[in-house]
Amino acid sequence: MGPALDLQRVANQLRGDVLRMVHTAQAGHVAGPLSAGEIYSVLYFGGVVDLAQDKIVLSCGHYCPIMYAALARNGNFPRSELKTFMQAGSRLPGHPERGSLPEVEVSAGPLGQGVSVAVGMALALKIQYGQRSQKTTPRVYCVLSDGEIQEGQVWEAFNTAVRRQLDNLIFILDRNRIQIENYVAQVATYGEVAGRLEAFGLHVLEIEGNRTDKIMEAITQAKEVMGGPVMIVANTVGGKGVSFMENDPSWHDKVPSQDELTKALKELGEKNEQV
């Protein structure tokens, strides 16, 4: 079993946790967190991110179940706590709140905000690390979604990231093509996303976003880019991993029934158990 295969397994374990959490809470988002399974598997378990000093920012806050699942699997807090997702007083609120866990870097939910915060972090880290080489300056990884880039703030943030040559900043755009109301292309016409991002001056790498090997490769490549921020456009499938959830906007934030949960966990190769 190669490392890429292990990461794929982890991605499905994280997906299983997402579905269990949402089912237990009877609320939360499904399709986005599932589409980002491989992204979170690589960020936390791929060994390409220096978890001791780099920052991982989740800007599309509704993806938080997958972040919580990754943090729990990484040993940052007990996995049993996942069942408190969205409960009053829980450290796992329905959208991320900075400081609820030490690893939750930004409060997110209103889309676009985390992108600017990530830019501010990267900027400040460059100030503080000053003359030290790019390789030792902590990096900031920022996960955002394709619905999210409808927010104008995101493009304001890209301007700053490019103008300030933030080569310690790596964006990962989960391009799953769905949002609450419909397919992204139905809600807002983008044309070529990668082309637009490139036109803003970002160094764009477009990849198959549900393949851990491709994500590993892209991050490794992104770390070598000097002089400006990198944007990894990860083409993913909304609801990835569960056949009846895939590419269906109605699963954006639908809670699976007990039957649906059982079927989904089976497809993911996960045990049929609660968190």
């Binding site: 930004v106 905000q113 972090m121 880290l125």
Partner: protein
């Protein structure tokens, strides 16, 4: 003994030389900028917010982010999360006007150690008209949990307030103003949450903030000649309110009038009314902008239009006392 505070007022306060409140910003930032953690962010208004002095002195820690106030609020939060102390500056009409939700989530909910300088507060902004006159900024910021809200009465107080904000860990909003107005206070260590009593009186308490503070003192002086003794409080910290000082004064005068260059809905006067309504109910009259947008014009003319000039204030106090 003088009824006017020696501690807070310069002796020639009546004829004090004029300076814009916003002028205090640059000097204070240059002073605290000796601390390498201090960073200043601008949204294309460095000159008129007066942060340009910091930019000249510490160019490596000044960042012009362009006309993008929403992004500036987020960037400021991110900068703060790494342990630096960012000051972000724009006009109050745009910040917190345009970027209120970013301030709400990225800064206030996150307890980000960000200092927000909102320049051009109030209709005193003058000729640029209502779009550029921040007349709701106090309401917008004081409703946010974790946020401290400050309004200096002159340039000197603006300096010490910025120094105090720098020392406080947590989000702070500081409202400044454009025109040149009397720089009438003494420099002292401003304490957040502790307001200043500028004049002792027994008949009515005038709670003022910003430019109207000096005018209130002048009104008090004129009324003293007519036998009316006004107590004048500078509500320099609007949040958290100095409950003790305000209630003590209300207890003495049993009549309170509030004066501010801001909508009367949600502003400093509302904060005072909320406090006294719950804890020591006395009759209150609020002066300010009464549910209207501002007006383009020379600021002193605009003040007359909205009844914020000295003649209007004096008449309002007299009418109120005779009600």
């Amino acid at each position: 003994m003088s009824k006017y505070s020696d501690k807070y007022l310069i002796s020639e306060w009546r004829t004090a030389p004029k300076r814009a409140i916003r002028d205090g910003v640059g000097e204070a930032l240059v002073k605290i900028g000796e601390d390498e953690r201090v960073v200043v962010l601008s949204a294309d208004l460095a000159g008129s917010t007066r942060v340009d002095k910091f930019a000249e002195t510490f160019p490596d820690r000044f960042f012009e982010l362009g006309v993008a106030e929403q992004n500036m609020a987020g960037v400021a939060a991110g900068v703060a999360f790494t342990g630096l102390i960012p000051f972000m500056a724009s006009y109050a009409a745009f910040s917190p006007g345009r970027n209120w939700e970013q301030i709400r989530i990225s800064i206030a909910l996150s307890k980000a150690n960000v200092k927000i300088i909102g320049s051009h507060g109030g209709v005193a902004t003058g000729k640029n008209g209502p779009s550029h006159q921040g007349t709701e900024d106090i309401a917008l910021t004081r409703v946010l949990p974790n946020m401290t809200v400050l309004t200096p009465a002159d340039a000197t107080q603006c300096q010490t307030m910025i120094e105090a904000a720098y020392k406080l860990v947590g989000p702070v909003y500081i409202r400044t103003a454009r025109p040149e107005t009397p720089n009438f206070t003494k420099k002292y260590d401003f304490e957040i949450g502790k307001i200043e009593k500028y004049r002792e009186g027994r008949d009515v308490t005038i709670c003022a903030s910003g430019i109207p503070v000096w005018e209130s003192l002048m009104v008090a002086e004129e009324l003293a000649k007519e036998g009316v003794e006004c107590e004048v409080l500078n509500i320099s910290t609007i949040k958290p309110l100095d409950r003790e000082t305000i209630i003590e004064s209300a207890r003495k005068t049993n009549k309170v009038i509030t004066i501010e260059d801001h909508q009367i809905a949600g502003g400093m006067g509302s904060a005072i009314a909320e406090l006294l309504g719950e804890e020591y109910p006395v009759p209150i009259k609020r002066m300010g902008i009464t549910d209207k947008f501002g007006l383009s014009g020379e600021w002193e003319e605009v003040y007359k239009w909205f009844g914020l000039d000295r003649v209007s204030l004096k008449k309002a106090v007299v009418d109120y006392l005779h009600e």
